[in-house]
């Protein structure tokens, strides 16, 4: 029998309470209190049944390794990293998604529809990446980077961006090798080349900043007035940058790159920004013009092509790249 909506909600609460064991003791009393806060009046017997159900193997439960510590009178997962979030798609879920995809294809002939369809097609492609048992390899393969550190904060960060809740976390700087506690008013979460970043106003730095999720430790929601973001600045962060770490310039400027014939072919096939204009010479090499906010990632991209590509202008960006080369 499928898990009912109310039971599912209670299971999510139990999972949340057990996962937050370092802040509140995950006792039966605490689970019932959190249920009440969510408007669910529930008895300890029902919670006990839910816990037993969660322990069942899929599809009847979640295979949750829940144990009860009699000395402490609290629940815990024997695998500390376990959570029922991140449940894999069942056949039923995939079927619902496929139906939704048909609807999206029929009804949404807008840019949003295209983007959503692209995302859904990727999800569904992944779900049918089944190994052909005759050949022992998948006949369709999407890029599948291993799950990165910090991705587990995604739900919390998205909620804080959506509702407007400041957070406290500890940030580790790879470059400076120091830890720093940060208060951030988060606005958006952004992916760039399979890396995730949260962007917002940092009280600690008194500036707009991006933080890689992989460098964030233990985010906590704060009871504090939320400082709303400036829509223009947020859109600029999302649309005017190749990457996330700007080099101090706040407005888009023209950046010109020079590329050899082979690199020009790749840039023609895979433009890196909406503003990209490629002007080819007769030899096949090119002048590539971009109107954007220069970033560290842009410099890294140019480096990745070695002698096949260089920054032509502005002059200060060339100098910055040169200085960073020596720093490296």
């Amino acid at each position: 029998m499928p898990i009912g909506k109310n039971a599912m909600l209670r299971c999510l609460i139990i999972d949340q309470v057990i996962s937050e064991r370092h802040y509140y003791k995950p006792t039966m009393k605490r689970i019932i209190e959190v249920c009440k806060e969510q408007g669910i009046d529930v008895s300890s017997e029902t919670i006990q049944k839910d816990i037993n159900m969660m322990k069942n193997a899929r599809p009847k439960g979640f295979g949750a390794p829940i144990k009860f510590d009699f000395q402490q009178q609290e629940y815990f997962y024997t695998e500390a990293s376990f959570t029922i979030n991140g449940v894999k798609l069942t056949r039923e879920d995939a079927s619902v998604l496929k139906e939704s995809l048909v609807l999206i294809k029929c009804m949404l002939r807008t840019e949003l529809g295209d983007k959503l369809r692209h995302a859904m097609e990727k999800v569904l492609s992944t779900s049918i990446e089944e190994v052909d048992f005759n050949e022992r390899y998948p006949i369709l393969k999407t890029m599948e980077p291993p799950r990165s550190r910090g991705y587990e904060f995604m739900d919390l960060l998205l909620e804080c961006c959506k509702v407007g809740i400041p957070i406290s976390f500890v940030h580790y700087s790879y470059k400076n090798e120091v830890f720093k506690p940060v208060v951030l008013h988060p606005y958006v979460v952004r992916e760039f080349e399979n890396r995730w970043y949260v962007f917002g106003y940092s009280e600690t730095h008194d500036a707009l900043r991006s933080f890689g999720l992989d460098r964030i430790y233990e985010p906590i929601k704060l009871e504090r007035d939320f400082k709303k973001g400036n829509t223009k600045q947020i859109l600029s962060f999302l649309n005017d940058m190749y990457g996330v770490f700007s080099l101090g310039v706040e407005e888009p400027i023209e950046v010109v790159l020079k590329a050899d014939p082979l690199t020009t072919k790749f840039f023609n096939a895979y433009p890196i920004h909406e503003s990209q204009v490629v002007s080819k010479s007769t030899s096949g090499s090119s002048r590539i013009s971009l109107t954007l906010i220069p970033t560290m990632e842009l410099i890294h991209l140019v480096w990745s092509y070695g002698p096949s590509m260089r920054i032509s202008s502005p002059e200060w960006l060339k100098e910055k790249q040169h200085a960073l080369k020596y720093y490296r």
């Binding site: 370092h22 802040y23 509140y24 003791k25 809740i165 406290s168 500890v170 580790y172 090798e177 120091v178 830890f179 720093k180 506690p181 208060v183 600690t204 430790y217 233990e218 906590i220 929601k221 704060l222 009871e223 504090r224």
Partner: protein
């Protein structure tokens, strides 16, 4: 119904060599200390860290010792958390019995009367400097 105490959070930057105390979280159940440990040029083959099980907090507002109850991402002696390079780092947390609520100075004591270990003294906690966790 009894009022649930709010969770107070202090942001700090207390350093002892390569150890950094960066945040303290306190509620009615526990006091949590978050640390960063960055290996440095001192690194030698097989470097390790751990925490002594008798580690405790003392506070200016009580004569009690606040014993360590739990820890996260660090081994308890005699076990060891090993390092493999001078660039390695570790974020770890220690949990103690809840401190009294109020302005106070606290000290972290791993070893009494010893210069070695993760000892940190006279860390000032003022209620007015604390952030409050969203309940």
């Amino acid at each position: 119904m009894r009022n649930i105490e709010k969770t107070h959070i202090w942001h700090l930057d207390v350093r002892r060599k390569t150890l950094q105390l960066v945040r303290i979280t306190r509620n009615e159940y526990t006091t949590r200390l978050d640390f960063g440990y960055q290996m440095d040029q001192m690194y030698d083959y097989n470097w390790w860290i751990n925490i002594d099980p008798n580690t405790h907090l003392v506070t200016s507002s009580s004569t009690k010792k606040f014993r360590m109850q739990d820890q996260l991402n660090i081994a308890v002696a005699p076990n060891k958390t090993m390092y493999s390079a001078r660039t390695d780092w570790q974020f770890f947390s220690l949990f103690f019995a809840p401190l009294p609520l109020g302005d106070q100075k606290i000290s972290l004591i791993e070893f009494e009367n010893k210069r070695a270990g993760f000892n940190m003294y006279d860390i000032e906690l003022k209620l007015s400097d604390a952030f409050i966790m969203k309940g």
